[in-house]
C-alpha cells in the first residue's frame, strides 16, 4: 500500500492537523508520502519531512497553488494519485474543498471525516451529527479519505524524509483569489488546544466575550462559540464549534451560556472532561457535562477567573 497525505497549511506554515493525518495513514499501513502544495512552502515542506513515518515529501511550490484553490489543487492530486492506493487529507475546510474533486475525477467515492481505521479498506465515520457511527468498506481501487483529526493522536517529529519537487503546474483560468481575512489570535488553535472555553447566546453580546479572556489566559485555553453566538455577530465564524463548525476534543471543555443543542454537542462531546455553566438547570448541556454549575455566568466567570 502507498498513501499520499495532503498537508494542511496555515499562512504558509505546516498546520498541526497534518501530524494527525499521518497517524491515520500509519494505522492503514504502507509507504507514506506527504504532498505540500502552495507558494513559498519550503519551510512547511521541511516541517513535513520531520513527521514520523513519512518516507517522502513531494513539494509543489508554485504560484498556481497559492491559497490552495480547489481547481488547481484537484488537478494536481489527479496527476499524482496514480502512484497511490490511498489519498488522505484532514477534514479541514481545505481538505473538504479539494478532495471530492479528486474522487469524482477518479470515479471513486470519498469517505469523509474518518475517525477510525479497521483495515486498509474499512473505516469508521460519524453520521447524523455524530449520533451514529458507521463502519464502511470501500472496494474502490483508490481510497479518497478525509480524516477527523480528533480521532488520531499526532505522530512525533523525529523523522527525516526526503523531499522531491513536483514539476506539474495546473492551469486555472476559472478561479482566482481575491482576499482573505484571517482572525489574528495569540491563543492556541481551537482544534489542537488542551483546554477550550466556549460562549453561547447567554453571553449576551461580543463585548462580554472578554469575560472569557482572563480565564483562557490562565488556562492556556482556546476560545470557541456556539452557532447562536456567531450568528448574532458576537464573534467570528471560525470560532464556531459543532456539526458544521470545528470539531474539538480537548482535555477540558467549558461551555458557558450554551444550551447544548445536538449540533453543538456534535463538535465537543468527545472532550475528556466537560464543564457546563448555565443558569437553566434543565439545559441539555448538563446531560453531557461531568461538572455542571447552575447560575448566572456574569457572577460565576469573574469569580472563576479570580480563583484560578
Amino acid at each position: 500500500m502507498s498513501i499520499l497525505v495532503l498537508a494542511d497549511l496555515h499562512e504558509g506554515q505546516l498546520a498541526g492537523a497534518t501530524a494527525h493525518v499521518v497517524a491515520a495513514a500509519q494505522a492503514i499501513g504502507g509507504d507514506i508520502d506527504v504532498l505540500v502544495a502552495g507558494e513559498g512552502v519550503q519551510a512547511a515542506a521541511e516541517a513535513a519531512a520531520k513527521l514520523d513515518g513519512v518516507s517522502k515529501v513531494r513539494v509543489a511550490d508554485n504560484a498556481a497553488y497559492a491559497h490552495q484553490l480547489a481547481e488547481p489543487m484537484g488537478a494536481l492530486l489527479v496527476e499524482l494519485a496514480g502512484d497511490y492506493t490511498h489519498v488522505l487529507a484532514s477534514a479541514s475546510t481545505t481538505g473538504k474543498n479539494v478532495l471530492p474533486r479528486l474522487a469524482a475525477l477518479k470515479d471513486v467515492s470519498q469517505l469523509s471525516d474518518v475517525i477510525g481505521v479497521e483495515s486498509a479498506d474499512t473505516f469508521l465515520r460519524p453520521i447524523y451529527a455524530g449520533n451514529a457511527i458507521a463502519t464502511v468498506k470501500s472496494d474502490d481501487a483508490l481510497k479518497v479519505i478525509t480524516i477527523r483529526t480528533t480521532g488520531f493522536d499526532a505522530v512525533g517529529t523525529s523523522g527525516s524524509a526526503t523531499t522531491e519537487a513536483v514539476d506539474f503546474v495546473a492551469d486555472n483560468a476559472q478561479s482566482s483569489f481575491v482576499k482573505q481575512e484571517l482572525a489574528q489570535s495569540d491563543r492556541p488553535e481551537l482544534g489542537g488546544a488542551k483546554v477550550v472555553i466556549s460562549g453561547g447566546r447567554g453571553m449576551g453580546n461580543g463585548e462580554n466575550f472578554k469575560l472569557l479572556d482572563g480565564i483562557a489566559d490562565k488556562l492556556g485555553a482556546a476560545i470557541g462559540a456556539s452557532r447562536a453566538a456567531v450568528d448574532a455577530g458576537f464573534v467570528p465564524n471560525d470560532m464556531q464549534v459543532g456539526q458544521t463548525g470545528k470539531i474539538v476534543a480537548p482535555e477540558l471543555y467549558i461551555a458557558v451560556g450554551i444550551s447544548g443543542a445536538i449540533q453543538h454537542l456534535a463538535g465537543m462531546k468527545d472532550s475528556k472532561v466537560i464543564v457546563a455553566i448555565n443558569k437553566d438547570e434543565e439545559a441539555p448541556i448538563f446531560q453531557v457535562a461531568d461538572y455542571g454549575l447552575v447560575g448566572d455566568l456574569f457572577e460565576i466567570l469573574p469569580e472563576l477567573e479570580s480563583k484560578l
Binding site: 471530492p100 474522487a103 475525477l105 463502519t135 455542571g292 469569580e303
Partner: protein
Amino acid sequence: MKILVAVKRVIDYNVKIRVKADHSDVDLTNVKMAMNPFCEIAVEEAVRLKEKGVATEVVAVTVGPKAAQEQLRTALALGADRAIHIETDERVESLAVAKLLAKVVDEEQPGLVILGKQAIDTDNNQTGQMLAALTNLPQGTFASEVAVDGDKVNVTREIDGGLQTVALTLPAIVTTDLRLNEPRYAKLPDIMKAKKKPLDVKTSADYGVEVASKVTLLKVESPAERKGGIKVASVDELIDKLKNEAKVL
C-alpha cells in the same frame, strides 16, 4: 440567467436518531423528514437572486424517493419556478448524485448551481465539489456571500481561519454555509400555487447513470454514551473537582 438548486430530503434537524436493533442502519420509520437546512439556504439564495433580477428562472432538482417530492414542492412554494425529481429508492452516494446532477447541468445549462455544503444525514460535504469537477466548472464552497458581477461571481467562503473571497467565471457551482442568508417561511397562498407548478419525474436510467457504489455500509452503532456527571454547588467546588478528581487543572 438560470439557477439550478439541488435539494435533499433528510431527517428533520430537531430529531434525535436511533440506531436499528440489528445495527444495519439508523431507524427512519415514522421519523419527521424535511428539506436539509443547507438546501433551504440554497433555495433562498436562488430566489433572492431572482428577486434582484440577476436570475430569470430557478429550477429545483432532487434525487430521492417518491416522498422527496414534498421537498420539491417546498422549494416551489419558496419561489422556485419548476422542479425535476430523479426518482430512486436506492441509497444514492454523493458521487452518483453528482453524476446525475452533471447530466441535469448539461441539459439545463444553468449559469449558477447552488447546493447545500452538506446534508445533515450523511454529513458528507462532497456533492457540490464533485459536481464542479465532473462539469469542469469552478467552485465556491461554504459560501457566506455570493455576489454576481457580470460574467463572474465573487464568493466569500467560511474557511478554518476566517473568511476567503474567490472570483469564479460563470457558470459556477456554489455550496452554502449557514450564514449566507436566513430562509423565509413559505406562505399558504404560495404553498397552494406550488401545487400547480411543473414537476418532471425522471429516473437515473433516463440519464444513463449507474447509481451503485463500491462503498458498503457494514454496520451502524450508537456512539459511546456520555454519562451525565454531577452538579457542583460553587466555583470553589468546581475548581476542587477539576484539580483533585478530574486532574485537568
